[in-house]
């Protein structure tokens, strides 16, 4: 399949559903090494994004992503708001006014989104942040596309890589964000932001797979 504006909206809706469904879980993860607000932040932000989309009905995927980015920026706050806000704003850049996204375009978009998060948050892989889910996801997507995998299978492989990346944050010691205050005590807990990043990419695989 190819991703049209409606499909992009569908992704955001699925993301909102899963953020609401996983709110407690994200809260628990953020309680352990943060300030217990990541679940509330993400569900508030994505619900607001869905509302805004249904009011505006943007015409192409890039406009959907921009709208979501703006909403997250203005509704979420915390570290998550600007980081996911930048992520969505940057997703829009490489794809211009395309009506439909194929695997190649999504690959470019996701790479741009992840680089946007890196640029804003200055986190490196291994710092125990959302980068640890996003980076493997974009790499897996690129490999899959290079191997000529179907869009569905490429999305699935990217979501699986994000999941593994999120899991792999457990033993890490945080070096960025609030969890870094804990020093060694941050090890042994999964990073909430990496977890929500996995949920996002899993929702994309579901929406478009």
């Amino acid at each position: 399949m190819a991703v049209a504006a409606g499909d992009a909206v569908r992704w955001v809706e699925l993301s909102a559903d899963v953020m609401v469904a996983e709110r407690e879980h994200l809260t628990k993860l953020d309680s352990a090494i943060g300030d217990a607000d990541h679940g509330a932040n993400m569900s508030r932000g994505f619900q607001a994004a869905v509302e805004k989309l249904s009011a505006d009905s943007p015409g192409e995927p890039a406009a959907v992503f921009k709208s979501v980015g703006m909403t997250l920026l203005s509704k979420v706050g915390g570290a998550g708001g600007p980081l996911y806000g930048s992520f969505f704003m940057k997703l829009a850049e490489p794809i211009g006014g395309s009506e439909q996204l194929g695997p190649e375009e999504w690959m470019a978009a996701l790479r741009a989104g992840v680089e946007g998060v890196k640029a804003r948050g200055k986190a490196e892989p291994g710092d125990k942040t959302m980068i640890d889910a996003l980076m493997p996801a974009v790499e897996a997507l690129e490999t899959a596309v290079a191997e000529g995998a179907s869009f569905a299978s490429a999305l699935e492989r990217s979501a699986a890589a994000a999941e593994q990346g999120a899991r792999a944050t457990v033993p890490l010691v945080a070096r960025k964000g609030r969890a870094s205050y804990l020093g060694e005590r941050s090890a042994g807990h999964q990073d909430p932001g990496a977890t929500s990043s996995h949920l996002l990419l899993r929702a994309a695989a579901e929406a478009w797979g």
């Binding site: 709110r23 309680s31 300030d35 915390g78 870094s180 020093g183």
Partner: protein, 332 residues
Amino acid sequence: MKKLINAPESVVSEALAGMAAAHGDQVKVIEPNVVVRVDAPRQGKVGLISGGGSGHEPMHGGFVGPGMLDAACPGAVFSSPTPDQMLEATKAVDGGVGVLQIVKNYTGDVLNFEMAEDLAEGEGIEVESVLIDDDVAVEDSTYTAGRRGVGGTVLAEKIVGAAAEEGRPLGEVAELCRKVNAEVRSMGLALTSCVVPHAGEPTFELGEGEVEIGIGIHGEPGRKRSELRPVDEILPMLVEPILRDLPFGSGDRVIAFVNGMGGTPLIELYIVYRRLVQLLDEAGIQIARNLVGPFITSLEMAGCSITLLRADDELIRLWDAPVNTPALRWGA
């Protein structure tokens, strides 16, 4: 969870409505959730704005008024506010000579204020930002997000607010804020966790005989747990790291601030202050001014923090200057 609220979603907006109703002579609340000095903007005066997650009341909204902040942006509980709030705050207080953002050093606050600075400059308003990072419990290294901004923020907002009120230019006001930040250090402890309304249960668990040393103001766990002992024995665990860090020395004068985290009664804060006086006395440090009470809280968390600001005549004069806000008031 036992709270006098209606729903976690409405905590901030309803509290702001109550605050506006209670302090209408000092502040107004404008969209989207910005607490603004009632007579803003003041032409020719540098605007002073700050902000951060809610749940730390009276900070920052309670510090809006003559002699302190011009506006405050409250985020959701423990979540940094958003750039559009800060932009509206900036526009509302801009008196034509620029706006200073006082930002506590947390990733979320820093990122959001950075974006707000870009937006405001896009609108032609000159903006400077100063980070407050006074918490000695956090190592300032490439392995952390840097030190957190805690109690020093209250002292900075008061002192810098007095300077802005005097009509000093933006560059000077920002420089003074950096100086305060350079001379202030804090450290806190918790006896109990707070309960974030959305979470509904304590962020962390502490045993009956335990105390968490080096706590932040968001229920973030501290650096270590210790046995709860008489306060006279516990206080050195906060004061020594502070004194070692700056380093404060014999003969220094300080503004000493004993802050309650919310759930600790005032009677205990005075017992803490008594011990602080002894410890500073032993170190040859003179307390020129003091502040005792819950000013930068963490919801209902029980505990306290100590903040020491090394102060010269100039800082003390600015500290003494009139202030007229919902939470800090003298000389007016």
